[in-house]
Assembly symmetry: D2
Homo-oligomer: 276 residues x 4
Amino acid sequence: MRFAVQSRLEYEVKSPTVFILNVEAAALRRQRIIAQRLQLTPGYAIERFAEDEGGSRFLRVIANPGSFSVAYAGEVEVNMIEKEPAGISEVPVGELPLDILPYLNPSRFCQSDLLGRFARREFGELEPGHNRVNAICSWIHDHVDYERGSSDAQTSAYDTMVLRAGVCRDFAHLGIAFCRALNIPARFASGYAWQLDPPDFHAVFEAYLGGEWYLFDATRQAALQGLVRIGVGRDAADAAFATIYGDAEFKGMSVGIEAVSPDAEEEPTVRAVAVG
Amino acid sequence: MRFAVQSRLEYEVKSPTVFILNVEAAALRRQRIIAQRLQLTPGYAIERFAEDEGGSRFLRVIANPGSFSVAYAGEVEVNMIEKEPAGISEVPVGELPLDILPYLNPSRFCQSDLLGRFARREFGELEPGHNRVNAICSWIHDHVDYERGSSDAQTSAYDTMVLRAGVCRDFAHLGIAFCRALNIPARFASGYAWQLDPPDFHAVFEAYLGGEWYLFDATRQAALQGLVRIGVGRDAADAAFATIYGDAEFKGMSVGIEAVSPDAEEEPTVRAVAVG
Amino acid sequence: MRFAVQSRLEYEVKSPTVFILNVEAAALRRQRIIAQRLQLTPGYAIERFAEDEGGSRFLRVIANPGSFSVAYAGEVEVNMIEKEPAGISEVPVGELPLDILPYLNPSRFCQSDLLGRFARREFGELEPGHNRVNAICSWIHDHVDYERGSSDAQTSAYDTMVLRAGVCRDFAHLGIAFCRALNIPARFASGYAWQLDPPDFHAVFEAYLGGEWYLFDATRQAALQGLVRIGVGRDAADAAFATIYGDAEFKGMSVGIEAVSPDAEEEPTVRAVAVG
Amino acid sequence: MRFAVQSRLEYEVKSPTVFILNVEAAALRRQRIIAQRLQLTPGYAIERFAEDEGGSRFLRVIANPGSFSVAYAGEVEVNMIEKEPAGISEVPVGELPLDILPYLNPSRFCQSDLLGRFARREFGELEPGHNRVNAICSWIHDHVDYERGSSDAQTSAYDTMVLRAGVCRDFAHLGIAFCRALNIPARFASGYAWQLDPPDFHAVFEAYLGGEWYLFDATRQAALQGLVRIGVGRDAADAAFATIYGDAEFKGMSVGIEAVSPDAEEEPTVRAVAVG
């Protein structure tokens, strides 16, 4: 499928400020950038760097006092692999590619070391594989309230496990923590999410199964085939759309995604979706 | 039923030290002290004070450097009320006796304010009453591992909710927190527990239902009819068997309880047990 | 000194709701109520109960759907004891009145058990007495930012110790936790605070020294001689101005206090202030 | 300087278990491996992988039930850069190499996002550079007790900030968190530490200053010039000497390091030490 995505961030900069921005669609094997345009106002110089592991494309911009806006628009072709969930197995730790191992470690917002007993109690007896990770998502969906304003930028999986409310990033963090606790590598992914209502940046997670990274959305709000990924990382600490070093006030944002390919209206299937 | 209880605490005191001890059976309407003996070695002076609300009998002793032991033995008649659980209802907050209201507040180890959403999700739809509190105990019993050494004196209900392991005091704290979150007054009770194996001080909790305080043991390890209560409080912070201000090393302890009345061997029933 | 105090709370009640209100000036040995008027609109029935220890006067009201307001006005004579701080000593635990001992225990928002090492390191070498507690207040004032909106109703002393920002209740909680960690009994006090700008309910703490409860305000914002206490408790969990069981939306409030006695304009001194 | 290092880990394996081991000296530009020998008993197959960023050399071994030991011995030449601390500046975020930026992010044990206000209050006014990071180390050394057994594998910088006790890894985590909070990239390093008494694996941290990674040891226990690094990572989650997936009991370990070069006895200087 092909999507047109766009976002716009607006700031009022008070003193010279460094922005690390992560809003561009990632250039990935299964996510091809057809066209794109990034417009900064004023037209500050940009430094780009791609994070190897997940293809995130970061920009560094130094902005001076005054209004500052970042507008991005792109057309992206997403060709995810869809498979029967039943046949997708977990990879034993002894057989994991070695560069995947760091995604078993606990991270700032995903304290898998503390959630291990719960994860093994609740999910340990389930048959390993894609269906088990899907069961994790169902558990989160059924046991955590999706509620705007119920969490903040400091909320971690540990907190969400008790407080039982959050937004997409909290759902992703909890899913990641459970997977890692079960020795399933997992990572955080941000993106433009087709059919998400209201439109916003979205957060999901990826689990490494059967030799591929598969997408999971415990909020059940977006179509996985329609996720244009911006970046991935260990958790939200690695994938903020904007990290600001200096003094700038956030003034507003808009995010949009539309399907532009002929098959856009087909119903999302329930098959497993891998990003390669 | 009538019980013979005994305990012995031993310390090596390094410098003059104040002990606040809470080892004597409480004098309560439904718990009658037949005989008792407290022996301190050396024979330091004792100051006694009873905490009105729960009948806990605290001792204050100032010990000098050297060995120090506290030996208590008592014979206690316990006459709890046993009722059919089905008929025991909750008391609406608007009708609670006003001196009961503090037991709705969160406390050090029972952060009921943070556990509210979970408690309402999990237990909110159950029919109010003794059976609901019993369902809370069953949930704890089924979802938390009883494991010595898995928690420490700082572990709170918030932690246990995530870590899913603990000992009797952690089980009690979680039960108290859930009850308060559901507007059921609840408090911590320590005691000598008949049939507890191995023998030790035990911790349970009490919930205020139908105008009485009812006993609950989420560990399911002891017979409620055979609990000789030492004291009660908001949580373990109020009911330590020994609080030490100074420098004393704990050297060992023994705890014992035996049934001495003719009906001692009868099987504990499954009825609700109130302490009045 | 004599003060006129008033407060008004407004709610929109959605379903029958129990309010536990704590807005009346406490009737204390050194705080005499000259006149007062409580007006509920609508004029619901009131149940009153006083909490023995601290003199807090709680009201229970059951409100039906619709607008609900609570207006309180009183004239109160406050006769605190003022003393030279230098002569006020701490009371050894072995000599504390026994009913004071619970104020050494950790509580929901004052985890003195976890803050002990810090408290002893920072304040342990200071000479015991009123001046030491004042040094605790100075430390808090100098190391924690007073910032509205930086904390919420779940913030505890443990958090404030790391986050270093809060409002009056957080300052009080930290002071209480430090005192208890040093074996100084301490408790939370809410009140109407003369010269507090902008006017609001205020929170301070009391430490038990030399046989009296002394007032301390780590925010340094109000005149201690001008504090008309509403209530006291272990921490904010015991002294909320309104605890709501049901469904009611807070619509607004006003709080006021004015000095009405001839000596009202004299400058607050720097002497220690005890509430008896 | 040239060092002979050795370590030995012993386990009793209960069921087939995957070990990820990180005990070999890292191969780094300024740390040259002269000779080394790794001996597994039994002689299981080894998979090796190096983590690019920090040069950590991980081994994956699958062990069968029975005794299992890992013995490593190496001779390593360490040629760190020593400089005058006064001339070593911080690098503005806008000029940091882009692959260094992830070391500004909070991580599992280094919640720099929560410690920011404290770090800015305490260290924000100090002149930027090596001396500021050294001041951070002095603060930690002076405000945290080094005490074996006072922390565990779950203890984070957030906890240490309150509890004020820990071991080398806790000291390193707190240093890293403070640096990141001040926009100084920082990472965790484990190693063999010359002159550490008693001998053990050691943990220190590295801060990115003036274009190099500089070593810091807030415990002040080891000579920085004598640190043979094993690996680096965001925090201890990335640099465990052994991560075990399966069921194996730790039976014991030994760690050793000796200086073998002629200049080994010279006194460590107080100059800044960079690892390049």
